[in-house]
Symmetry: C2
Subunit: 197 residues, 2 copies
DNA sequence: ACCTGAACACCGTTCAAGT
DNA sequence: ACCTGAACACCGTTCAAGT
């Protein structure tokens, strides 16, 4: 239980959870510490005990988002099947997360972060790229992907998938279902990565 | 001249210009109507004469950004050279704008817009995609690009370039110069778009 | 037309004080 | 440890009033 140990019990986790919901519903402009405190029934100063300021809460949310994101990417990369199938699964895992939790993904990739936690965020971002990089290196030895620095190829692969997610969330895809757009994007990407004949 | 006709002369344009600068320097959180008014030496209520509210100013900025963006894309698409060279130029024009004016591009593709102007923004966004679509259709008849709905292929092409720009601005590219990352991304993309052998 | 100045309800942040 | 309540300096928005 541990509910209501003092006034709330687990204010930190509750703040993060509520913050993502508000971010998803109303965007960054609609998120205020005072509003969160109201929603959770604590005084407006209570969040300060857990997050030094508004940005610290956003950073913590980005960190927890990246952790979950990387967990999902790793799962796809280590899944069943040959390397090409796992590359595809990786792309789909990315797109799935991006659409499901687009507010969070946006926060994760936003440029502005507090000095003190940006290092952790950068490392988490690198880990995402490393997962793709590792899989691409495996695909290279299998002869399914062109030679070249796999880290750079991972940047290209991420670009395609990330850009598609942004277009989808921004409404630029119109009536095209994301699944179909994702299919085509992954097909074009994998064809482009294949070794030149 | 027309400077200082009443108090400022061209407050609307001055607000937009200053707003983009603030957005670039300090991000959306650092942008306030009151701050802009202070910077320009007018009362805090003066901006309301030109923009009903904060969002209206952001929308107007996004519209002007898209107009310039589309102008540049159109220039690249109608430039000299064969269709493949112009496709490359289109990609470079996109990346150039994205990095030069990343705060503006971000605003342009942000999902949240006022009801009354989102239609105009959507149309401008479509026009960007149409430029790519038109060029891809031309490349298809020249046999340089695989068959299929050029509008969908344009979505894929935009995804790659847009995603790369986001990664660059977000600091995920590390020491990789954007030019090099852009080269590789465009090469992979164009290879992926080529008709299957 | 265009801008001012006061007003209102919000916000982030700080800090002494309570339990 | 964790939270409260008051305080301060900000903010967006509105509106009567000035020129």
């Amino acid at each position: 239980m541990a509910e209501g140990s003092y006034h709330h019990g687990n204010l930190r986790a509750a703040l993060l959870e509520r913050a993502e919901a508000v971010l998803t519903e109303s965007g960054p402009a609609g998120l205020s510490l005072r509003g969160l405190a109201r929603d959770l029934g604590v005084s407006h100063a209570a969040p300060t005990r857990h997050f030094r300021d508004r940005q610290a809460l956003l950073d913590a949310l980005a960190v927890s988002g990246f952790t979950e994101f990387n967990r999902r990417l790793g799962e796809a990369a280590d899944g069943p099947g040959g390397v090409e199938r796992r590359l595809e699964a990786l792309g789909r895992a990315y797109l799935g997360f991006a659409v499901e939790r687009h507010a969070l993904l946006h926060l994760m990739f936003a440029a502005k972060h507090e000095e003190r936690s940006s290092e952790e965020l950068r490392q988490l971002g690198h880990h995402s790229l490393d997962i793709a990089s590792r899989l691409l290196a495996e695909a290279q030895t299998a002869g399914a992907v062109r030679p070249g620095d796999p880290a750079r190829l991972a940047q290209v692969a991420f670009s395609t998938v990330h850009g598609l997610a942004v277009l989808a969330v921004g409404g630029l895809l119109d009536e095209t279902p994301l699944d179909e757009a994702g299919d085509l994007a992954l097909r074009v990407l994998l064809a482009g990565l294949r070794p030149p004949a």
